[in-house]
Amino acid sequence: MAVIAMREALNQALREEMTRDGNVFVMGEDIGVFEGSYKVTAGLLKEFGERRVVDTPIAEEAIIGTGIGAAMLGLRPVLEIMTINFILVAMDQVVNHAAKIRYMFGGEVGVPVTIRTPGGGGQQLTAQHSQSLEVFFAHVPGLRVVAPSTPKDAKGMLKAAIRDDNPVIFIENISLYNTRGEVPDEEYLIPLDKAEIKRPGRDITFIGHSKGTLLALEAADRLAQEGIEAEVLDLRSLRPLDCDAIVESVKRTHRAVLVEEGWPTYGITAEVSATLMEHAFDYLDAPVKRVGGIEVPMPYSKPLENAVIPSVERVLEAARSIL
């Protein structure tokens, strides 16, 4: 197994799927010559040419709308929206169109489009460029929403997303592109609806996605030094939510701390918490705790930004309050 960065894993997934299926093409702002704001599409223009690596103007609505239109005719567009914040400009295409088309037309047509986009903060990009908006999409029936935390998952899930016949919102995180991990040498896919235990434990369950999972893993390492074994469940898929995996883990550990980078109010952690309430109430020995971004627009100033973004310390604090 090779150890590669998340960025490289995503790049491999794109390259492999484009090689496998001539209907797969990538499209987005500055993804060709410039190779993408975060260099995920590096080398693709050279390898596949302008027909299949399409640089666009700054026109998110046109990017997503044309992607939908092409997908309805059977192509498999993989759209890059430079950061998740800019999808808001094209939310109508995502929510009123991509998510609705199959159902509204009685199953006569599908929209096999994948929209890749990074969210997250921590790099002083301020209020309009630092958001974690996954819940905006996870709210909507008809969309699949995934947010991997490791290079291996990123590669296997992106390949699965491209092959999936539904619109998939594939959420990356700007602070994870350089994180490294083992990726199998042989071809593999990872299902789009399964959480995974990233670290087994018996005393408490940490549940997160994307960067939240990494915070949870770090916190679990720290607790292990004190003899406390935390289980870390990585959601991976946000819609559908793998309720069975969530409930199974907490049935064993009886305690849960939920972690997300975004605002917890009406957030992913709120949904997971409701799931536990409905299906694991009798197994809980303590209230469910949530850790998320502090509920303000992201400030620029470093000390303020540091105070907003969830930290390992805050995960530990939440865990200790219920252990």
Partner: protein, 333 residues
């Protein structure tokens, strides 16, 4: 105002400007250049973070146009706006303090490089979502009309912003409602790494205004005098005819899209060629030829600028970081 192209116009005579104005143009452009170089340096020293886009190369477009505005006018810009903020009179120390994320900054450290603000000077913000500030600027023009105020809403944008829906919606209502608005595209030929011909089916941005029957003009953005002249004529037209005008300033950014972009998508020759048309050097040459400026006067200006930029850094250093206890300030009224 007719729709004209840059090539058809001759140079604007120096005689049309007072000596004081010419020296002011020279000083302000030199100041912005040095300020931005210092910002770059402070970024490498990690005093500044996040996205940081410099105006280096665009000083003629900025100084020439903002000098033609009155205090009644409102200014809206993209995220590439340190120079606009300074030209409008926001103290450079306050701009630098914002870049440092300090309480003494233009947005009290909450906004950073892309979000300078000063309502007293009608500097209505740097904005970071491409094209999104256009309708907001049109809203200011709407309010001006509604209340019968003086003033024009002046909205700067990059040429990349002309390809997004908000641009077209805004131009349409601006003309339809006869809004006192001036749209200024600073066309630096690249939206990030994408050349304008690859992103715009009509690369000449001023032509897009014609679709909405808005008078427009393309101007040499490296010539501060031409910019000033065009802006003044545009403002006169807006005030007289009560309708929007659209200007396109042809300029170039001598640096990458942001301080961390090495700009590999442009050839060295192209950058060098444009640097020959450096707005500061072009004005200097003309003033020197007319014996309005000499080497001694130029180095005096450079000395003064050096001291003032250092003072801006000192101010920013001395200003405190916002206290974490104030984190929730300004979320709601």
């Amino acid at each position: 105002m007719a729709t004209t192209v840059i090539e058809t116009k001759g140079l604007i005579s120096l005689d049309r400007f007072s000596l004081e104005t010419l020296h002011q143009f020279h000083y302000q452009m030199t100041f912005i250049r040095r300020f931005e170089e210092k910002v770059n340096e402070m970024y490498t020293r990690a005093k500044i973070g996040g996205y940081c886009h410099l105006n280096v190369g665009e000083e003629g477009s900025i100084v020439g146009s903002i000098s033609a505005l009155t205090p009644d006018d409102y200014i809206y810009t993209s995220y590439r706006e340190h120079g606009h903020a300074i030209a409008r009179g926001i103290p450079p120390g306050v701009v630098m303090a914002e870049l440092f994320g300090k309480e003494g900054g233009a947005a009290h450290g909450r906004g950073g490089s892309m979000h300078m603000f000063d309502p007293g000077r009608h500097f209505m913000g740097g904005w970071a979502i491409v094209g999104a500030h256009l309708p907001i600027a049109a809203g200011a023009a709407f309010a001006i009309n509604y209340r019968g105020d003086a003033g024009v809403s002046v909205c700067y944008l990059g040429e990349g912003a002309t390809n997004i829906g908000a641009f077209h919606e805004t131009l349409n209502v601006a003309k339809l409602w006869k809004l006192p608005a001036l749209f200024i595209v600073i066309n630096n030929l690249y939206e990030m790494g994408t050349p304008v011909e690859k992103a715009s089916s009509v690369p000449e941005q001023y032509k897009k205004a014609a679709a909405y029957d808005i008078p427009s003009e393309r101007v040499d953005g490296m010539d501060v005098l031409a910019v000033h002249d065009a802006t003044q004529r545009a403002m006169d037209h807006i005030r007289r005819e009560r309708e929007p005008v659209f200007l396109e300033f042809m300029a170039y950014r001598f640096r990458g899209h942001s301080v961390i972009d090495p700009g590999r998508y442009r050839t060295e020759e192209e950058v060098k060629e444009w640097m020959l048309r450096d707005p500061i050097l072009m004005l200097r040459e003309r003033m020197v030829a007319a014996k309005l400026l000499d080497d001694a006067a130029i180095s005096a200006v450079e000395q003064r600028v050096e001291t003032e930029v250092q003072a801006a850094v000192d101010f920013a250093e001395a200003s405190p970081f916002p206290d974490v206890s104030t984190l929730f300030d300004y979320v709601y009224a």
